[in-house]
Symmetry: C3
Subunit: 279 residues, 3 copies
């Protein structure tokens, strides 16, 4: 894919999400569920959140794409999540996985293991989560498994590059690793997206809602393009919001406004670099 083709693809993804208003349901955590829904609406999607097994299945059938975030998991997720992912996979629907919290709890681990066969179109995570997921799936991460400290990354994005490439090659989709410089890869080409704001980690849910927004774009573009578009609009909106914000409260308000106001040209104009993966 050439840079020109990618930029044209990003423009199209931003525009089409607004025109088509795709329904993109989620099973996501209660901490940031409101922010996820509002971010999805701001970029043009339609949101719906569920918890029960038959409702996950039903949403997988009617949705254009879906978002599964492992934050605050509930006992019923043992049935809901593998079943929902199975239907998505069978129907060839793109879905986005955020493996937040990998490493705490046994149900979480069992569910994440089951996802390996249902190949999420996009895995959205931080560096430590990418390494931990690659290790859980016994892929080549380049790093021994180590502990995860809550929801924060203790590894750098570049340390997770090998894990991200391995995950993308397994799923045949894309992996987006958030950091100061976001890494997005389809296993062959790796893109770096910059921008954002130091205030982004000072509010909860920028990562979660980025996953939800990537799912909206996955309804109208390929996984790799969708993940690059989502990272680009987040980096752009974060940078613009920071200019007008005085702290994390006003930053979040401004950030949703900027997601809503960003044009296809704006998003395609956010800095992006490409590198080819060898081997």
């Amino acid at each position: 894919m050439t840079m020109d083709g990618i930029l044209q693809g990003i423009r199209s993804a931003v525009a089409e999400a607004r025109e088509k208003v795709p329904l993109v349901p989620s099973v996501t955590n209660t901490v940031t569920i409101n922010f996820v829904a509002n971010a999805q609406l701001a970029v043009g999607g339609s949101a719906a959140m569920v918890y029960l097994p038959d409702e996950g299945r039903s949403m997988a059938e009617v949705g254009a794409a879906m978002y599964i975030n492992m934050g605050t998991i509930l006992p019923i997720y043992e049935e809901t999540l593998p079943e929902t992912a199975r239907v998505l996979h069978e129907q060839g629907k793109p879905w986005v996985l955020d493996p937040v919290g990998i490493g705490i709890g046994s149900l979480r681990e069992r569910i994440l293991c089951s996802f390996m066969q249902y190949k999420p179109a996009i895995i959205r995570c931080n560096a430590s989560e990418a390494i931990a997921l690659a290790n859980l799936w016994r892929l080549e991460s380049g790093r021994e498994k180590d502990g995860v400290r809550g929801v924060d990354a203790t590894d750098s994005v570049l340390e997770a590059r090998r894990a991200a490439v391995a995950l993308a090659r397994w799923t045949g989709g894309a992996v987006a690793v958030s950091g100061e410089r976001d890494l997005i890869t389809d296993g062959r080409t790796t893109a770096f997206s910059t921008g954002g704001s130091a205030l982004m980690p000072k509010i909860t849910g920028t990562g979660c809602s980025l996953g939800g927004v990537a799912a909206v774009y996955a309804a109208v573009a390929s996984p790799f393009l969708a993940a690059m578009t989502a990272s680009a609009i987040y980096n752009l909106a974060g940078q613009r919001a920071e200019e007008k914000a005085k702290g994390p409260g006003s930053f979040q308000v401004q950030f949703l406004d900027e997601l809503y106001l960003a044009t296809p040209e704006d998003v395609a104009g956010n800095p992006l670099e490409l590198e080819e993966e060898i081997g």
Copy 2:
């Protein structure tokens, strides 16, 4: 009821909610639960949210009115919701139902069926949900049952008029159908409330929180007056918020401010039209 009587009733409802600070508990979805509580507080109510069966019963006993929203239902709701509605009905307490998500999932359908006998004082919904609920309760909707697309209405408010009238005649309460022009009916008189903003569907929870606010007014006014008051203050606050907002983030902040600042005169002055239902 004359227009003068209605406008006086609206003024009184807005003022009394602020004076009496009625406790109006909810069982509501996790997506917009914070917005529901904040909207209820902004118009003068006191909020409390629960999930467990004996806590639903307890809230039905101590609350002045109650709000049940079917968004993100949990397994325990199989016990909690019918039991809570039963106590509300037995004690003659007004309660507001938002049948969001009708059509996805079997537990959701069983619970909604059980509500028929416990007659909610107000049903707050969109056009497609009004038609689907009338069909589920085997009332005369004027339309065959059809699919529901997530949480969005695919029918217009006027297409749901017959269903809304049938529902209101069954419950003896009111039905409020949200749309560009809100329809509120008690089965004999139908009111149309206008205003609002194109940004309202770009944030999640304007419908849910409208139901929670209608429950606050139902604690101090008749179901029909309460539903008209809630629609009026929402249309007013939406219009005023839009003038100051730059996008959905600032719109939501401004909207809560406007709910809080609206006077009884302001709310009664929002455009309202009445039509009599025949037959």
Copy 3:
């Protein structure tokens, strides 16, 4: 402890929370979970929320302190909460309890009873909840047990003083009773913190998030100092936010900004009075 020692301790707590970024997980209600996390981040902490028994245990082991709020409890909490509190107690980790909703429901009561032996470092509550918890634990509250009205206090802070002192003497930690004038006691010295805003009770979650912030400070200071620091920064941020807010929507945004912007000197400069408890 002298007033000078306390003010120095408050300065240190504010500064150290920002330097160390302690991980302070929570099990907390779905109504205000987002606000709790954002308030914890704004004062420098790192947040993580869970529901499941083994995840509560895991968080108790890796967290520097923890927050347990009894708002919207779920069936699984029967296992999660006593087990999490047990691990916290065994490991000598400070944890903050918010007994919101005490008096409604039997599971809630059983869990609160089990907490007596696991001695929370800080109990954060309103006046009615302090009295009800002291009665539940059969401590000397100075008041007969009476009903609790949803989440609102019907008693004044001074009426709860005896209960607060009794609770603090039992736990060996601190008790913070929120009101117009906040009371914080370790059972020997009682501090009164003033400021805040009449808009604070008009948004949901100022109490809950105060508990979450107290847990962040408990990771870097003694329970009594942590509770005083949390009350002081809340009273300061509330007062500052009110000056710029037009209603509850803009107040909440501004409040998070002010939490983020407050310096150690600012917080130590918020009005504080000390009284010795006799007997």
